[in-house]
Symmetry: D2
Subunit: 279 residues, 4 copies
């Protein structure tokens, strides 16, 4: 009765003895898992054409090589801004056209995977969707690389098993993104788990990046967490950036200005060199 | 740009001053939120026609008034048994026909809501889906009562906000189900949060039941947690039952035999009387 | 080099196959671990002679059989009220004289064990001291029964091992007190772990009681947690009571008035009967 | 009645506007809080004269400037090795004589503060003692610098308040040591909270170091966590080292060999340079 399932096998996400790092290329210039770290910048949500365009230019000028921005936003309350949806995708596409930056954006609903895949260079699975198995299968059936965020409550092994849904469906291009876990301490929004980065780099052959913005929840601590992530071995950073943080419709407190973003890039480049990498 | 959203309002889930308890009826005989508690029994997963039929009869004989059983199973690994799907629904329908017990079963994918709604008397949103907002909206568009399980790391306020997605979509029949949260202590599978039951009974007008089986993860402690839940004010219990626990395809260790289920019913009836309720 | 240590042995706290419940008597009338539950009431801190006396009378009238009250208070900040110390002990002794209620009070410092033992009928080890091993050894060398509270971060096995320090030092009279653990959810002050009560009642032969006041941190939820504790199998309750909660120097929000205390007693007596016990 | 307490005041641990970093000197050559990071090495427990001497030499050769080693060991079970106590202090003193490395060692009992202070250059308050207020006061009355480890479930604010007990007693030389917190995920022994380092460096003027060994609990991940700590702004590292880890009486799995320790030093020196520091 479980005949349609793949047979039990060594999980595809796990590094076999002697296996090297898998590269997940996005464009000819941007690739996860190599010597060069990938710096992604952009706002929490796409709010307007001018906002995403202005931010994309700032990201590019600040040294970012990829643009993030949410068109569909998972919000705790149904009465909060839910994203511009299809219109947001169009705005992202125009920002890519203007800057050359490839786009990563979140997909929330399996029924939206096709339309998001038409525009996005990389599909993001958000924290709340890490065990949304129908969605994982659906993105596994596309040929788009997938950025798989850790859930606030997900163990490393559950996270690897979530990736396995994508891999087992035929999509080999998965990048993990640690973004902080939920603990007893609410000093910061979440607790960045740099240990998970170190463990994953050993357990899996796939790339692992870090989102220091959601972990910190406070722009003052984003750079310190980003430096720690690079020092621990992360393959890239996903950093919230907004040209006018005070006006952001979501996550205002944790967004960096373009100046702060460029400063983070400089600091993290130095740390990357110290651990034999390039940013 | 967020024009299609309901306006900000007092959340529908919250109890207004002086507001009584909302009743969520399933059949003329089974109703959540009244003096009488609702005892639901059944296996984790529907495994075969004979298994679900045998269990349904045992549940009925043991004093249960509603049947649970998963046709779609959210499993951590893609290589584990994922449920019998449509065939499982048919088996559940035949068990209902034979016993008269209404059915609650989980729906995982917004694309399956229509087909599950055709058979189920109540739709279950599982722990991993508590913030699957497209799915919440979709079940909110049906006229089926919804059993909304708490996530393993969902705060009470986030849980109320998740219910709000269903209510805001037009479906007023939501029942909360506490099932244990994830903490530092792994003595049991999860930590049953009876305090959340007490708080919810104050904050919301909607019914609140408890699943002691997933909280305990061990059949030896299910009855104690069930008694505690009733004493704390729960409006019902969702208890895993299996006629042959050793053969269960999932959650074997926490399933009660028919005899244990009947014993739990007797114990919880006494506690219900002690708090002015009936079971 | 570890020659002075007891040899590795089966832990004394664990229930051997077939072993019954150990009784921990405090006075001829008050005993933990038998059919009859022990209801302890009293303020967080002893604040004055009149306060503790008035409260003791209220506890007695409300059906309590033992008096709690802190003379030494462990406070997060050094600038908060730290307790009346020796003077507080004298006030407690006079309250006992007036009411006949035996006294349980906390000892924080191994150097104070002798002086506290002179007055107290039972020594309380607070949550923050559960792994204060020198203190555990010191109370283990007395002949006073010990109430061992669970730490906010203590697993059941660590808690059993903490009791073992007392037992191994020669004091066989240990009573466990669950008081809520720290989790990600701060809806209530702590998360009452009724599952731990059920597990301990199986693992150990020693009595287990519950402090619903520190778990709830809010007087509105204390009775619900108390009922849940009794239903789960607790051997007693430790309930904060204050005749004028608004004036309390600590833990004002979670203290019950004498009327609420008496009401809790009535409710919990009914639940105790339902589980074959007496309160 | 609380007359003997210091008056409410701005906590001494908090950084006042414009206040610089406080230096905590141990010897003329070793100082916490300056440009130069402090690398501490040594075993979990002092096991014998030869063991601690051999390890001290290895620490010195590997670039460490201070020696750790426990003479009194807080152990979960009373049947585990509890340390060599006074004899251990003597062994530590001889290791210092031979190498010139100052010593930090744990004190568990307020009654041992005097004897430990006679030998130690710095007193360590362990994780389980972070809210042992009598002990904090007692070390606050000495003139020895204090290394205050974070508890497994201590918030940043509680940790600052614990330091305040020492500062309020008159001892201004406190160094914080983050060592991982307890969370739902047991992939590693604890979850290193690099965010707490970043927050503390802003909130307090006192130095903050990191113990990557207890956080990882596994030698394979210690260096990655150490690099992350330095990148996040830590003022030093406390690293478990053992010449023969397989023979260690405690914490064998997380101890580095002398070669691994020297390698960690090299890696962390590079990261320190990248963030404008020296190691």
């Amino acid at each position: 009765m479980a005949a349609e399932l793949p047979k039990k096998q060594t999980p595809l996400a796990l590094r076999k003895p002697g296996q090297g790092n898998t590269l997940v290329p996005i464009t000819p210039d941007v690739c996860f898992g190599g010597e060069k770290l990938v710096l992604i910048g952009g706002p929490c949500a796409v709010e307007s054409q001018s906002q995403i365009l202005e931010t994309a230019l700032a990201v590019k000028n600040g040294g970012g090589v990829m643009l993030r921005g949410g068109a569909w936003k998972p919000r705790t309350s149904p009465y909060d801004f839910q994203g511009l949806k299809e219109e947001g995708l169009l705005f992202l596409a125009k920002a890519r056209e203007a800057t050359g930056l490839p786009i990563v954006t979140e997909v929330l609903d399996p029924r939206d995977v096709a339309i998001v895949s038409e525009v996005a260079d990389m599909l993001q699975i958000g924290s709340r969707s890490v065990q949304n198995f129908p969605l994982l299968r659906e993105v596994g059936l596309t040929n788009k690389p997938v950025l798989l965020k850790r859930g606030m409550m997900t163990t490393v092994d559950e996270w690897l098993a979530a990736a396995e849904y994508i891999l087992a469906a035929g999509n080999a291009n998965v990048v993990f993104c640690e973004r902080g876990i939920r603990t007893f301490d609410s000093t910061l929004r979440n607790t960045l788990d740099v240990g998970a980065v170190a463990v994953l780099k050993q357990k899996t052959h796939l790339p692992v990046i870090v989102d220091p913005s959601h972990a910190a929840g406070d722009f003052r601590y984003v750079a310190a967490l980003a430096r720690a992530a690079v020092a621990a071995g992360a393959d890239g950073l996903l950093v919230e950036t907004h040209c006018h943080p005070a006006d952001a419709l979501s996550d205002a407190g944790q967004s960096l200005t373009p100046e702060q973003f460029a400063q983070l890039k400089t600091e993290c480049s130095a740390v990357a060199s110290a651990v034999g990498r390039v940013l």
